[in-house]
Each structure stands twice: as structure tokens, then as C-alpha cells.
């Protein structure tokens, strides 16, 4: 019996460890020689059932086998450590079906099982397969390509003569061995995808890699429309968010961030809000323009940044992924689809959070978005940037004048972040923030209660800090005494809203710890292997 556990996740993609025996392990994603690794596969003759087979045929003819366990789009419960996505090679050219099947199967497959896509992997598609959640591949497709005299590269399959064009210098090319080249090209592409998982940027890589293959672009778009694929996304990341294509707009990370801005976050004041443009530098407040804005606003309004592709970023949340991490090609043009998405976010924000006054200190596309959203939300805007130059003396003067009668009140990022991160409205009066932004610690009197993770923008509660938070608990099974990190099988229960990367409080019989999750609630409860929480501090009672 082999065992699989994921060591690092990036959405549905994983770097994992497949333990085949006491002696042999494979680090995934990887290419395997399936029949030598799983000899029982040789006994699966005459078991074919195409993925499009009906429920009735499935009931009659489906053979799951032992290891790897075959899965079928009709599968409703799946067990096993290695899952064989039978005949997946016939699915991958149909993006709509591929996304539909995969969404369904990700929900029923055990999280601690490796997913094997037979005869699918090519250098040109394996990144998208890994992105979708596959861990294991084989050489069948590249070997077939070699037999068909096709030269495989990440950009596609070309005539074998392309071997002579100097685009590759692998040992296969040196030896004129097409099969070897194709195999090496597949292995290299898997290694490259792995690098992007490590960086937490497989999405960015996928947004690039898909471009020469319509069905991969289509897949990306279908995946973005199916909520099941977003279940395993981390709550935040520390990596940059590269918004370099129109599909960046539909990343689930953005909807997730904005959902909390709209539905969890509550502004600390509702008298006056000023809508500000974004800055290339992140967090915004370190940029020259925002230092100017903040000097002029001088705590007399709630600062809210309107930006693409995020939509709305209240000043308090500017450090949180992806607000503090995104990078976008600037041309000064906001396209209509982009604008429509942003209008939706801003409309929802202004509808949910009613301010007495909303000052619009924006220009260009952002100003248009604000106008449309304000109208939709039934809000009247006051304009302070009438020369389309938010930094001009005139504009800054107008902004200053607009706030003349407004009272000063400091924006509290801790309060805002507690709302966004934990959905917890806490009275922070008397709390003290020390340290140089964004490396800060929060104290209540002399007791440290939080620190800020400057890489993600989240708050890290101390044991004392957890007193202010109700949810985000992980409960250890009775009689289980964790040594170091918390393993999934030791978890009895947890808050279902927990995501990978969340700060959690771990409790159990005579045990308390603070830590950060490495998997989401669903996986914690279903997985039998793997670290679930990296413990920061333990409090043994």
C-alpha cells in the first residue's frame, strides 16, 4: 500500500510525497512508469469505460480496482491513496467537460490521495494539468508523439525537424533521440511547474502557459467560473500577484478578498469617505503619492482605494494579500470588462457601507468606475480631482477644502484586519502598536496580543490575543498529545471556515497552541496524513 501526503499546496496543485514502500518515495508532481509502480494495473484488461459513460453503464461496468483506484466522472465516493483518472486523455481536449468532471471529482476524492492522469502529460499541457490538481503522469503521450515524429516543447508539438532549429540543447537533441528529448521536455516542464508551486504563483505561470492553446485558455476560464476549484485556495499568500492578463481579473483570490471587504469589514467611521487612486508601490502608504494624500486627508476621512484588478481596498486592509502584492501593467486604459467587474465590487461596497459623504479623488478609468458604482448604489459623489491629476496642487487643495469641517479620527488597521481576517468586531481602544510599519506588534497595556505578518498582512494572535477571537479553532482528538506540529489525523474538529494560511488556535485536553494552517478545514477533517497546523507557540496546561 502506498501513501500520499501533500507537502505544499497552491490551490488544487500540490507538491507531495508518494511513499511507495519503506524504501521508495516519489516527490510529486512526477512522471511514473505506472505499470511497474503499480503492477496490479496489468489486471485491468477489458475494463474500459469512457468518461462519458452514463450512470447506468457506470453501475454495471465500472471497475475501481485496488491500487491505483480508478475514478470516473460518475464516481460518488472514492477511496485510496493513488487515484487513476481513467481515460483522462480523452477528456483534456474538451475544456468544458474537463472542468465539470474535475470540479465534481475534486470534491469526492480524498485529499491525501495522489491523482494520476494517464497518457495525458505533454510539455505543452502538463502545467495546466498540475494547476487543475494532477500529481502523477506517465511518458505515454510524449512517447506516442515521438513515434509520430513530433517534437514536444512547452509551446506545442512540432515537426521532428524542429530538433535542428537550435531551440533545445538537451541530451536527447544532442543525440538526435526524439523520444529522449520528449521525455526530458516533459520532466523539465513538470520541474518548472513545481517551482511555480513553491513560489505560490502557479496561477501566474498557467496564465502564461495557456496562451498558445485555445482549450487551455478555455479551461482557465471555465475553472474560474466553477466555485469548487476555489475551495482549496489559501486565505492569503506572501507571493506577488501578477495581474498580467484579462483572466487575472477573474481569479478567485480577488472575489474572496472583496467578499470580505464587503461582508466582513466594517468601516470605523461613516461620516466621510475619500476614494483614492492606487499606487504601483505596495503597500500603497509607502508610496510618495499616498504619503501626500494621507498628509492632506490628515485622518479627516476614511481612505478607500479604488484599483484594478482588486476593486476596493480600505486603507486598513492595504497590507493584506492580494492588496499588498499585486502588480499590473499600466497603460492608463481600463477596459470595459475590467471596469464592469470593478463597478460591481464598488457598488456592493458603497451599498453595504453607507457613508454620509463620499469624496471622489480619482481620475480616468477609476473615476468612471466610481461614477457608475455611485449611481448604482444611490450615492452622490463629491469630486475633488477636476484636472485628472490627483497630485496636482489644485486637486490636493480641493481635497483639503472638502475635508475642512471633518473631524480627525485615526484609521485603525488592527480593527479592520480583525474584521477581515476573523470576522470579529473588537473594541481596540487603548491598544498600542509598536514597531516600524509594517513590522508591528500590538499590545494591550504591557501584554503583546498580536503581531502583523508583513508578508501577508494577517494578524498573528498570541495566546492572549485569542481571547478576542471566537472562531478559527482547531480541536485535537482526546488522548492525542501533539509533539510539534499538528497532524491531520489528530484533529477531531475545526471551524469549517478555516483555510490554508489561516491563523488558528489549537485546543485539546491539556493542550493549547497558536499556529498557522497548511491546509483548509475540509482537508484537515478528511485527510489521514500530513501536517495540518504549523505550531508557533504551545501552552501546556
Amino acid at each position: 500500500m502506498s501513501l500520499f501526503d501533500a507537502r505544499k499546496r497552491d490551490g488544487n496543485a500540490r507538491i507531495g510525497n508518494l511513499k511507495l514502500s519503506d524504501e521508495e518515495s516519489i516527490s510529486t508532481p512526477a512522471v511514473i512508469d505506472a505499470e511497474s509502480v503499480f503492477p496490479s494495473l496489468e489486471e485491468r484488461g477489458f475494463t474500459n469505460l469512457p468518461p462519458s459513460a452514463s450512470k447506468a453503464e457506470f453501475g454495471k461496468y465500472f471497475v475501481a480496482g485496488e491500487e491505483p483506484t480508478a475514478v470516473h466522472p460518475q464516481s460518488e465516493s472514492v477511496e485510496g491513496s493513488v487515484l487513476l483518472f481513467s481515460n483522462w486523455n480523452t477528456v483534456i481536449s474538451d475544456a468544458r467537460r474537463h472542468a465539470e468532471y474535475m470540479e465534481k471529482l475534486l470534491a469526492v476524492c480524498p485529499p491525501d490521495a495522489a491523482r494520476y492522469a494517464p497518457a495525458c502529460g505533454l510539455p505543452s499541457n502538463v502545467a495546466s494539468l498540475i494547476y487543475l490538481g494532477f500529481d502523477l503522469f506517465d511518458y505515454t503521450a510524449v512517447d506516442l508523439a515521438a513515434v509520430q515524429k513530433k517534437f514536444c516543447t512547452p509551446e506545442g508539438e512540432f515537426d521532428a525537424s524542429y530538433m535542428e532549429k537550435g531551440i533545445c540543447d538537451c541530451p536527447g537533441c544532442k543525440a538526435g533521440d526524439l523520444k529522449l528529448h520528449n521525455r526530458l521536455a516533459l520532466e523539465k516542464e513538470i520541474a518548472l511547474a513545481r517551482v511555480w508551486i513553491e513560489q505560490g504563483q502557479l496561477r501566474e505561470f498557467m496564465e502564461m502557459r495557456c496562451r498558445l492553446h485555445a482549450e487551455q485558455v478555455s479551461l482557465l476560464r471555465h475553472v474560474d467560473r466553477r466555485p469548487g476549484f476555489a475551495v482549496n485556495l489559501p486565505v492569503v499568500r506572501s507571493s506577488r500577484f501578477l495581474a498580467n492578463s484579462s483572466e487575472s481579473m477573474t481569479r478567485a483570490e480577488i472575489a474572496f478578498f472583496e467578499d470580505r471587504v464587503i461582508n466582513r469589514f466594517v468601516p470605523g467611521r461613516t461620516d466621510v469617505c475619500v476614494l483614492l487612486p492606487c499606487a504601483a508601490r505596495k503597500p500603497y502608504s509607502l508610496s510618495r503619492s499616498h504619503q501626500l494624500f494621507s498628509r492632506v486627508v490628515d485622518s479627516r476621512a476614511h481612505e478607500v482605494i479604488v484599483t484594478s484588478p482588486l476593486g476596493v481596498v480600505p486603507r486598513e486592509l492595504e497590507l493584506i494579500y492580494p492588496a499588498g502584492h499585486y502588480d499590473v501593467p499600466v497603460t492608463g486604459y481600463w477596459d470595459k470588462e475590467e471596469s464592469a467587474i470593478l463597478v460591481e465590487y464598488l457598488t456592493a461596497y458603497l451599498t453595504k457601507h453607507r457613508y454620509d459623504r463620499v469624496i471622489c479623488h480619482l481620475e480616468g478609468g477609476a473615476k468612471e468606475v466610481a461614477k457608475t458604482a455611485a449611481q448604482a448604489a444611490g450615492v452622490e459623489l463629491e469630486f475633488t480631482c477636476n484636472d485628472d491629476k490627483p497630485l496636482s496642487p489644485d486637486s490636493l487643495r480641493a481635497l483639503n477644502n472638502a475635508l475642512r469641517e471633518s473631524r480627525k479620527r485615526r484609521t485603525d488597521p488592527i480593527r479592520g484586519t480583525l474584521l477581515w481576517q476573523f470576522g470579529e468586531l473588537v473594541d481596540t481602544k487603548g491598544w498600542l502598536t509598536k514597531g516600524r510599519y509594517p513590522n508591528q506588534k500590538i499590545y494591550e497595556k504591557k501584554t503583546q496580543i498580536f503581531s502583523i505578518d508583513p508578508e501577508t498582512g494577517l494578524l498573528r494572535p498570541t495566546h492572549e490575543g485569542w481571547k478576542y477571537i471566537n472562531g478559527y479553532r482547531v480541536w485535537i482528538s482526546d488522548g492525542f498529545v501533539p509533539q510539534g506540529d499538528i497532524l491531520a489525523p489528530g484533529i477531531a474538529d475545526c471551524d469549517p471556515q478555516i483555510r490554508e494560511g489561516d491563523e488558528v488556535f489549537v485546543g485539546g485536553e491539556g493542550y493549547q497552541a497558536t499556529g498557522k494552517t497548511t491546509m483548509g478545514a475540509d482537508e484537515m477533517l478528511r485527510a489521514n496524513r500530513g501536517i495540518a497546523v504549523r505550531v508557533r507557540k504551545t501552552n501546556r496546561k
Partner: protein, 324 residues
Amino acid sequence: MTDPRKPLASWKGQDRYFGEVLSSLTGIFLSGGCSWNRCRMCGYKNDRDTCSKDELIDHMKGQILWMQENYAPDEYQLGKIFTSGSVFDPNEVPLEVLDAFGEFFAGKPLIAESRSEYVTEDALSRLLKSLDKGQAHPLTVAIGLETTNDTIREKSIDKGNTFEDFIKAAETAHNAGVGVKAYLMMKPLFLTEKEAMEDMEKSIREVAPYADMISMNLCTIQGRTELEHYWQKGGFRPPYLWSAVKVLREADVPVACDPVGGGFKRGPHNCGTCDKEIVAAINEYSLTADKSVLDDVWEIPCACKKEWEFVLTNERSWNMPLTQ
């Protein structure tokens, strides 16, 4: 709407019959419809005349009349009749019509298609009565056995009968002095290229003792069938012509084969380059049983043979089809 008093199709050709090459007349007749009507690859499911028995008799006799009016008796030496079902099923082909068939082809040898369960002493003697004028091998019943493997026949075709049923029907036929032609099907659904090829090799070996003639059909994709549904979703590839050639070359008995749709994507095909030549060779071999024509095409240096070999070696139930 098709004219129910005109056969669905008819043509003249040549056929090998008990070792002799005869000119033939083939007719595909609209009948009451196959009583089974479930085979996964069958495209004739909608070809059924849903009317009263009397009307059916009238319609079918009309079709026979149409044949008589369009083909002179001296134009052909052998008759072949198909109803996309069973000629000997009295519900599908009323006995009056069976008689009319016998009368039409009286004095000539006739091949009539039927599912095994309808091959009864009564039915055969009824037809022979009008047909048999002392000619050699007056009647041969053609039965779609498809494969001698009951498990494959059930899953891949859903044929609803067994090899044992076929053997019984063959005995019945032979006892009545009627010949037996077995139709086998190369590569129905759910089989790898190799499984399909090996199944065919085994089926030919196993059916040979019971059949006077063997015909190998290469699976093609007909419209509005289950097979087409799977094919459209990438779940099926028709057999390679290489597989057909290999089976024919290595068979110990002569096997006829008409590679319908050969070289097209819905029919048995290789890469598109070598297909025409191979289809022609298979057709010639079917008539002449001369294996040298097969040996010749076997040596065509087409690049796709390597692909076919790769598919034979690497295609599995869980990664198929590897090619399209």
C-alpha cells in the same frame, strides 16, 4: 420519408461463396425492425416499418417487386438479403414475405441474415421450400456472432445472445442442409486495439469449426448510435487497417472483409496516406483469398505503422483510445 415499397438499398457486386466467386445482388430491405434493437453500434434502430402486419406484408412485397423490376435474373448468380434484423423473425419479416423472397431468388443460392434465435428448422424449411430448386448450397444463413467471447459480446455490443446460441443455430442450419456464414466484428466499444485484434484472432479460430464462411466487419461509426456518442467524446477509435490486415494474414481460414468506410475517420483507418491501398488489398483478398496481396500491403513503409505498433503495446483500458 422513405418509400416503404422500395428497398433501403441494393447493389450488384461479387462475392466469394463456398470457394467460388459469384456475381451477387444485395438488397437491404425495410422490415418490421429488429426485435432486439439494442446493439451499441447498430445504426438501423430507426429503420423499422411501424405499421400493421398486413401493411408490412404489402410494403415488403412491394420492395421485392421493385427488385424484380430493376434487376434481371441473369445479371447475378447469388442473392443476399438483409433486413437490419432477422430475415427469419416472423414478426419482423412475415412468412408471406419469406415465401416471396424464396420465390424471387428461386434456383439461386441465397444468403439471408438473422439473429441466431430465429434460425429454426421451421423457418429454414419454409424458405427452402420456395427457394430450393436443386441448386448447390441453396441457402446460407448469415449470423452476427460478432465475437466468440460472451463477456465482450455482452458489454461491448449488448447483443443479447451467446456463442452457444450460435453453435445451436449453426447445427440447426447444417441439419437442414443450410450453410452458415458467421459475421464477426473487429473492435466494438470498450476494447483496446490489441484486445480487439486478439479477440478477433481467437473468434476466427473458435468459430471456424461451425461456419462455412466467416466475414469480418471492421467497426464503423454510424449516425445516432451509442457508439457515435462515445466516439464524439473521444472514447472510441475505429480499428486500424493494419489490425485488419494482420488478422486476415494470420488466419488459418479464408475470412471475407469489406472495410466499409475504410480510410475515413468514422471507419477503419490508418493515417490517411496508406489507407486507400490497404482497403483495395483487403477487398481483393476477400474475393480471391490470395494472401499475397495482403503480404504486399503489409510491407508498405508508412510511418503510421509505428504508431499502430505503439498503440498495440501501450493502449490500456484506462488510457484509450491513444489515437483518433
